[in-house]
C-alpha cells in the first residue's frame, strides 16, 4: 500500500470527478444522470471510504461503485417498465437533444450507444484511458480474457459507427 496517497476529499474529487462523470455519462447518456451517478459515488465514499483498507484501490473502488449504482438504478427503471411499457424507452437512456448539441463527447457516446450492449462498458473504460485492463476486468466483474475479446470485437463495431457519424457531421 502506498502511504503517500492523498485520500482527502479534495484530492479524491480533484483527481476523479471528471473521469467518473464521463464514465457516468457514457453509461447513462445524459448530463443529469451522469452528474447524479458521479456525486452519489463520492457521497458513498464520504460515508464508507474510511473503511477502504488499500487506499491505492480508491480509483477502482470509485469506478466499481459508480457502475454498481448504475446497474441498481437500471434494474429499478426496468421494474418501472412493468408500470407502463413506454417508460423503458425514457428510462433506458435516450440521448437528450440539448446535451447532444453542447457536448463534443457526445459523438463517441452516440456511437457507443449503437454498439452491442455487451461491448459498451468495456469500450467506455478502454477509451477513457483511466484504467488498466486488469482494473477494467475487476470493475465489470468479468475475466480479463473476456474483456480482451470483447474489446477486440467491440472496437471493430465502434470504429465503423464512429467513422460514419464523423462523416455525417461534416
Amino acid at each position: 500500500m502506498d502511504e503517500s496517497i492523498d485520500t482527502s476529499f479534495d484530492s479524491i474529487v480533484s483527481n476523479y470527478y471528471q473521469p467518473l462523470y464521463r464514465f457516468g455519462y457514457s453509461l447513462a447518456k445524459n448530463e443529469h444522470e451522469a452528474g447524479d451517478l458521479a456525486q452519489q459515488t463520492f457521497f458513498i465514499y464520504a460515508e464508507k471510504g474510511g473503511s477502504l483498507r488499500d487506499k491505492s484501490n480508491v480509483k477502482s473502488w470509485l469506478f466499481t461503485t459508480l457502475y454498481r449504482e448504475f446497474l441498481r438504478r437500471k434494474r429499478k427503471n426496468e421494474r418501472m417498465d412493468n408500470y407502463e411499457p413506454e417508460l423503458l424507452e425514457n428510462a433506458g437512456g435516450s440521448i437528450e437533444p440539448e446535451v447532444q448539441s453542447t457536448l463534443d463527447g457526445n459523438l463517441a457516446v452516440e456511437a457507443l450507444a449503437e454498439v452491442d450492449a455487451v461491448y459498451r462498458e468495456p469500450l467506455s473504460l478502454f477509451y477513457l484511458k483511466d484504467l488498466s485492463y486488469k482494473e477494467i476486468a475487476e470493475i465489470l466483474d468479468v475475466p480479463i480474457g473476456t474483456i480482451m475479446s470483447r474489446l477486440s470485437r467491440g472496437k471493430a463495431q465502434l470504429r465503423e459507427i464512429f467513422k460514419r457519424k464523423e462523416a455525417e457531421t461534416i
Binding site: F43, Y83, E84, N106, K155
Partner: protein, 270 residues
C-alpha cells in the same frame, strides 16, 4: 508471432498510454512494425481513430459547479454519518419543517425519536417479530409499515390495475374492499396515474397508487384500524436507501407518500 497475432496485441495499445506498451507480447508486436510497412500503416490508422474516439469521450466536461457541489455534499454526508453513528435511533427519522426552530425543538425531536424507537420495539415484540441485532440496527427509527412498503416496492412485479386516471383506480380499490385515499380524492383527481397495487400487510390491505408527474411517486394508504404500531401524529419523514417517505394520518387512514429522492423531492400534495 505472425501479422494476425501482432494485430491482436497492437489493438490493445491505447494512444499515448505508456502502461499499455509494457506487456512483452505488445513490445514484440511493436517491434514488428519496423519490418512490416503494411502492418505499420494499419497500426497508425487504428491509432488515429482510437485517438479521435478517446478525445471525443474525454472532451465531456461536467458542469462548472459540479466539483464544488460534490465536495460540499461529501462533507455534508460525512458530517451526517458521524453525527448518526453513535445513535442508531436518530439516523433515519427526520421531522417536518416547522415555522420556528426554538431550542426546545431539538429536545422534542430527541424525545420523540426515543419514543418512536420504543414504540417500534414494543410493537415488534408484541407482534412476535424476530429481530436479530443487525436488523434492529438497520431499521431502527423506521416504522414497520414504512419498511414493509419499501420492501414490497423493491420486489413488486407489476400493478394490479392500470389506468392513467384516478377515477377507475378508486373504483377498483373500492370494489376490492381495499383502502382508497378518501381524504386525498380532490387532490389526486387530476393527477396522471399509472395504476395501483394492493399489498397484504399482516392480513390487512395496503393499497398503493402510482403517479407519473414530472417524476414518479406513490401514495400508499392503510386504514388506521389495521395499524399495529404507534405512529407519529404529525407528518414524519424517513429515508431508506434512495427512497424518501412521508407518512401522515387523518381521522381514518394512514398515508405514505414516497418517491426516489430525498425529503425535499417529495411533491406537496397536502
Amino acid at each position: 508471432m505472425d501479422r494476425k497475432e501482432a494485430k491482436t496485441f497492437l489493438e490493445l495499445c491505447r494512444p499515448g498510454l505508456e502502461a499499455d506498451y509494457t506487456d512483452p507480447l505488445i513490445t514484440e508486436a511493436l517491434a514488428m512494425l519496423d519490418q512490416d510497412p503494411e502492418l505499420r500503416a494499419w497500426f497508425e490508422s487504428e491509432q488515429a481513430i482510437d485517438a479521435r474516439i478517446s478525445d471525443s469521450l474525454n472532451n465531456i466536461e461536467p458542469p462548472a459547479a459540479f466539483k464544488a457541489e460534490t465536495l460540499a455534499g461529501m462533507y455534508a454526508h460525512k458530517a451526517q454519518a458521524n453525527e448518526n453513528a453513535p445513535e442508531a435511533s436518530s439516523d433515519t427519522i427526520q421531522f417536518p419543517d416547522q415555522t420556528s426552530t426554538k431550542s426546545w425543538m431539538s429536545a422534542f425531536v430527541g424525545i420523540a425519536a426515543v419514543f418512536v424507537v420504543l414504540f417500534v420495539t414494543v410493537a415488534a415484540l408484541r407482534t412476535g417479530q424476530e429481530t436479530n441485532t443487525g436488523t434492529a440496527v438497520a431499521t431502527a427509527g423506521i416504522p414497520d409499515l414504512v419498511q414493509f412498503l419499501s420492501n414490497e416496492m423493491d420486489n413488486m412485479k407489476g400493478l394490479d390495475k392500470r389506468s392513467q386516471q384516478s377515477g377507475p383506480i378508486m373504483t377498483y380499490l373500492a370494489s376490492r374492499g381495499a383502502p382508497k385515499p378518501d381524504a386525498l380524492e380532490d387532490v389526486i383527481r387530476d393527477k396522471r396515474t399509472l395504476g395501483c397495487v394492493v399489498f397484504d400487510y399482516n392480513g390487512a390491505q395496503l393499497s398503493m397508487i402510482c403517479f407519473k408527474d414530472d417524476s414518479y411517486y406513490h401514495i400508499a394508504t392503510l386504514d388506521k384500524a389495521d395499524i399495529r404500531e404507534d405512529i407519529p401524529q404529525g407528518p414524519s419523514y424517513y429515508q431508506i436507501g434512495n427512497q424518501a417517505f412521508k407518512m401522515w394520518q387523518d381521522e381514518k387512514q394512514v398515508h405514505i407518500l414516497t418517491m426516489e429522492g430525498t425529503e425535499e423531492d417529495l411533491p406537496e400534495l397536502i
